[in-house]
């Protein structure tokens, strides 16, 4: 009993003492801080290889998750891709614009940020590249659909049911796809751009130093530079860096023959850079 009484007296004295309140205040403050002000992070997202439909879906899911994650204050998009399907590229591009409304996104172009990959990169607040990075190829491809072969056993209800339109329509649609790309570059790069729309439409590939000269990128820099920039735009420090999406395995760039083989009666549009054979 006496021990309990001693303990009770000791406790009462402690609770009434100033140091106790200091410690309690600090502890409570730490708890409130940890819950209300979590450590900020910069998430890295890989965009590598040919942009196919599957990777596009993964990227869109990632970008959507990043938008909703309050701990992620900025995003680093690491680009090393020759582009891919036009429709997938456009979907990722628009999702990136939505993400950019809420938190800064910085692009870092590695060996290649061409065509569709560059289309996506222009949605970012800031673009880094290396001196020898390949940047540009602002244009689109289409493999014109095969001519429809008439078959007595298969009948359609309209002349373009099988093909979706004439070959001439496909060329006109290709022009629309091209204009969308050029428009995206002009709208996002704005005063930084030092090329006309006509010059952009030449679809040239530029080295990193040239791309900097023409305003296609913002700076020559490394990954750490890009991370520091992202942090600066977000106004954060003592942040963590977390790999959010590792990207798909880098598949080989399909040849024109392979693209032709995929094209049936319907045309498919690509923002893709590869050497002509």
């Amino acid at each position: 009993m006496s021990k309990l009484r001693v303990l009770r007296r000791l406790l009462c004295r402690c609770v009434r003492s100033v140091p106790f309140f200091v410690v309690a205040g600090l502890a409570l403050g730490w708890l409130v801080g940890a819950l209300g002000i979590p450590r900020p992070y910069i998430a890295t997202v890989d965009l590598s290889g040919v942009i196919e439909q599957e990777q596009g879906v993964d990227l869109q899911t990632t970008l959507s998750a990043l938008r909703g994650n309050r701990n992620v204050k900025a995003v680093l998009l690491e680009v090393d891709s020759p582009g891919g399907l036009a429709v997938t590229t456009q979907q990722v591009y628009f999702d990136l614009l939505k993400l950019r409304r809420e938190k800064p996104v910085v692009a870092l172009i590695g060996a290649e940020g061409a065509s569709g990959a560059y289309h996506i990169a222009v949605a970012c607040n800031y673009i880094y590249a290396q001196q020898a990075s390949q940047v540009g190829s602002i244009g689109a491809w289409v493999v014109l659909p095969e001519r429809e072969e008439l078959d007595e056993e298969s009948i359609t209800t309209g002349p373009f049911k099988a093909t979706g339109g004439s070959r001439r329509d496909a060329v006109a649609e290709l022009e629309m796809v091209r204009r969308e790309f050029v428009s995206a570059v002009v709208q996002n790069r704005k005063d930084r751009l030092r090329l006309s729309e006509e010059e952009l439409s030449r679809a040239e590939i530029y080295m990193g130093v040239e791309a900097l000269e023409y305003g296609l990128i913002d700076e020559i820099g490394t990954r750490s530079d890009a991370i520091v920039k992202a942090a600066g735009l977000a106004g954060i420090r003592n942040y963590g860096v977390v790999k959010w999406y590792a990207g798909s395995a880098r598949a080989g760039i399909p040849s024109i023959e392979a693209l032709r083989a995929r094209t049936g009666l319907m045309p498919t549009y690509y923002y893709l850079h590869f050497e002509s054979e």
Partner: protein, 327 residues
Amino acid sequence: MKKRIAILLAGVLLVPLGRGLFYYGYGGFYAPPPVGPEVHKEVVTPLAPSVNPPGEYVAGGVEADGVSANYTEDEKAATLLVDLAHGNLLELGEISVLSAELALRGARVAFFEEDDLEDRLEEADGFIVVCPGDRFSSEELETVGEFVEHGGKLLLIGEPTRPSEIGRLALRFGLVFEPGYLYNLKENDVNYRNIFVRDFAQHEITQGVEGMVLYTAGSISPGESGIAFTDENTFSSVVETRAGLSPVAQSGDGRVLALHDLTFMTEPHNGILDNGVLVSNIARWLATPAEREEEEEEIGGEEEVEEGMEEEGEEEEQPEDQEDALA
């Protein structure tokens, strides 16, 4: 007690504040740039300006007797020979429009596949060579050269998308089918390779042609031989010289016509702007029979020889008659 509560509250407030300063400093808040997804909602569909609006019916102009309303009785029938003997990169359907125009003028279209070229050209008024995959031999080049010299007409058609041996034949007549293709990024028919041509020299081929569209065309040198010219915004993918890019040209004597595009004369491209007029003019030019003066002289000589052979005792005079006839 108040003091202790104040200390507690200070701890609760100051620690998060310190944490905030530790992670965010005085950097301020992120201000997103103004461009968002809604900016790109309007994308103008590029309507090809040169396509006739749907629903516009163009009469065929064929009379009940099968003769075209455009066909004039003054135009005499001619025989045109189409080369198919040199691995030509051509589908016959691609010259159906030209063939139809020739048929409307009563011209006869024949195909050269395996026979002797010299024999076939003797019966022809015009020779049409499209994208030959195989080379013309030296003898054949000579034969075609003589055919033209004797009044025959030669139509040479090349295509940048179909590398061929047309250049070797064209060079015989002082024409060069340049490598590469023509393009215009400023003004085109929905693609930079579909160029407008609006500058023409005075020539029977370009009569009534105010504008045409060519589809992945090439240029032909020298510029002085040109009868259709591109504008200052049209470039060659290979040739550095911008001046005098001519996709349609003729040789000095006017008997050789060279085109560096085939697509414009195929359906539906022949319906764009005045492409059809150009095809019609080419057909008219081809369908006009050649003035084969030397052949007529040869025929006259043979008759003289035959007459001479029928009469006895005049064999010694025959050579003189022959010489007179040939003179």
